[in-house]
Symmetry: C2
Subunit: 335 residues, 2 copies
């Protein structure tokens, strides 16, 4: 669009919401007017943004009566279920961070480095994928394009910030030895690994695992890719790490994989094991790239590959990806 857009940030006071603000500032996202919205509980709070102070508005059915072009939603599935269609019906394009609309065939699910073209067919809602899926997609896309992907096995090492303030609080309390009731988890997370993210489904997989499987198909646009996942919460505050085992369709030279990732969009190659260089959660925290390393042939299968993929789950896994979607959206939005 040729004018500056009017923006709304819905759920502006949560962990992801506050990172939305930070990333919007950093990337100097253009806007004419910006509105911050949240539940009644958080309404009235004051938020500093780009040197000014904004008062958080209560999100209501009338919030989108004013002219808004893009709304960044990060307020949970229930809020998105109710308010995203209202916003869309009033001409707003919603970029939604919840899982509510991701698998809706009418809603594009987008990682800008992977399937930016899907933004164009949006009908008012664009879904931001699950955090653990996003970073995997940035890693898998160049492999898919060059070699084709037959099968993927994910094992994840996910940070507590993915559970919002409650997850962070559970880990902090645990590490400090405080005997506080758990807020986010069924079991203590300090000193523990919980193979349990989101709720369990009937087939024994968690919803998080099913998200990784289903969203991989949708984003890569190929339901024939075989995918399985084990998702695990680890006592780490920021950044998800992933052990990804991949079976490619075509043969490869391992040097070509290094070269491919060196030049892949959104990727930083960190693989110099002689000097102990490989992706690390602590290093990724607060940054936007997807870090890839520990690249090596899996000798247990034809065309097998093991990689280790790390990204900040709140930035590339949520806020940054959503804002990148909004940036792409600006190119296709009409005035």
């Amino acid at each position: 669009m040729n004018r500056k857009p009017n923006i709304a940030v819905v759920g502006a006071t949560g962990v992801v919401g506050s990172t939305f603000l930070k990333v919007l500032e950093e990337r100097d996202f253009p806007f004419e007017n910006i509105y911050f919205m949240a539940s009644a509980k958080s309404a009235g709070k004051k938020l500093p943004f780009k040197g000014k102070e904004y008062v958080v508005e209560e999100l209501t059915e009338n919030s989108f009566d004013k002219p808004i072009d893009i709304a960044l939603f990060s307020a949970g599935g229930g809020t998105s279920a109710k308010f995203a269609p209202i916003a869309a019906s009033k001409g707003v394009v919603v970029v939604d961070n919840s899982s509510q609309w991701r698998m809706d065939p009418e809603v594009p699910l987008v990682v800008p480095e992977v399937n930016p073209q899907d933004i164009e067919w949006n009908k008012g809602i664009i879904a931001n994928p699950n955090c653990s899926t996003i970073q995997a997609m940035v890693a898998l896309k160049p492999l898919q394009d060059k070699y084709g992907i037959k099968r993927v096995i994910y094992s994840t090492y996910q940070a507590v910030s993915g559970s919002g303030v409650k997850g962070i609080s559970d880990l902090k309390n645990g590490l400090e030895g405080k005997d506080e009731p758990l807020q986010a988890y069924a079991h203590p997370i300090a000193g523990n690994c919980l193979p349990h993210i989101d709720v369990f489904t009937e087939n024994g997989y968690t919803k998080e695992e099913m998200k990784m499987i289903n969203e991989t198909h949708k984003i890569l646009g190929d339901d024939d890719i075989k995918v399985t996942a084990t998702t695990v919460r680890v006592p780490v505050f920021d950044s998800h790490s992933e052990s990804i085992n991949i079976e490619l369709e075509k043969p490869f030279e391992i040097e070509d994989i290094f070269e491919l990732f060196k030049n892949a969009p959104g990727v930083v190659l960190q693989d110099d094991v002689e000097n102990n260089v490989y992706p690390l959660a602590l290093d990724a925290a607060g940054t936007d790239p997807v870090y890839i390393g520990r690249i090596r042939r899996d000798f247990s299968v034809d065309n097998g590959l093991n990689i280790w993929v790390v990204a900040d789950n709140i930035r590339k896994g949520a806020a940054t990806n959503a804002i990148q979607i909004a940036e792409e959206l600006l190119k296709v939005l009409e005035d």
Copy 2:
């Protein structure tokens, strides 16, 4: 043997060594005389054991001149390389916890629930497998026997106690925010996941990963099983967790897998996801079983299975397994 054996514990003052003492006491391991040995640095230290106090002897070339039947070694590869053959040459059977002899074709590598028969052909040294391998073997053996195993993909979540006191210290210092130099790791472990255990080898795998691959073949007695591994240190003090993806040879019913593990030696089945029951590092710590849960079909391949396996790496992963070997050994040793 019909009389009580004479026992030596070599490396009695380390993390594993002190657990040797605890487990020997708990299991009321029979002995006539017991000797505790360590490097010159630790010699002279006093160790309480079964209500008595023992003085740690310095390990020398003459340490095995006295009549000793079984020596439990946990003093590092260098010490085992030098002293295990000396002990063996004097009629001692060494149960060695280091990686020094594991892949030697003249040395059995034993998990008592899996391949106790290999104890019989020992020539004076029996190797205790790598911690992360042991628990995986206890889980894989019943599957191998009933269905055959085609391929295994390990992703591990390993505790710092596997690096001894230095690893524990690195995590403690990190969690307490102390700016101490790292002793065990190339990078901070607090709040981090390190895809780096033991040194890197030329093919890009770590030694730990190659141990899991090679030891799986040797213990299961089948070099045709395809295996790959990604081994990761996590900020957990005790117990290794493992995400294991398995491709079986024959078809299975998922209920039969539950039944199989319910009755498998050394296994505790913990799989009731509706009630948030699954294996956890904190629960396994200080206990001897291998806990298996998150059992579910991997729909991405024929006869595919995902499981989550947790055990105390210092107990079943080291001391307990070694002492179980010694217990089996007593049955076959001649007077």
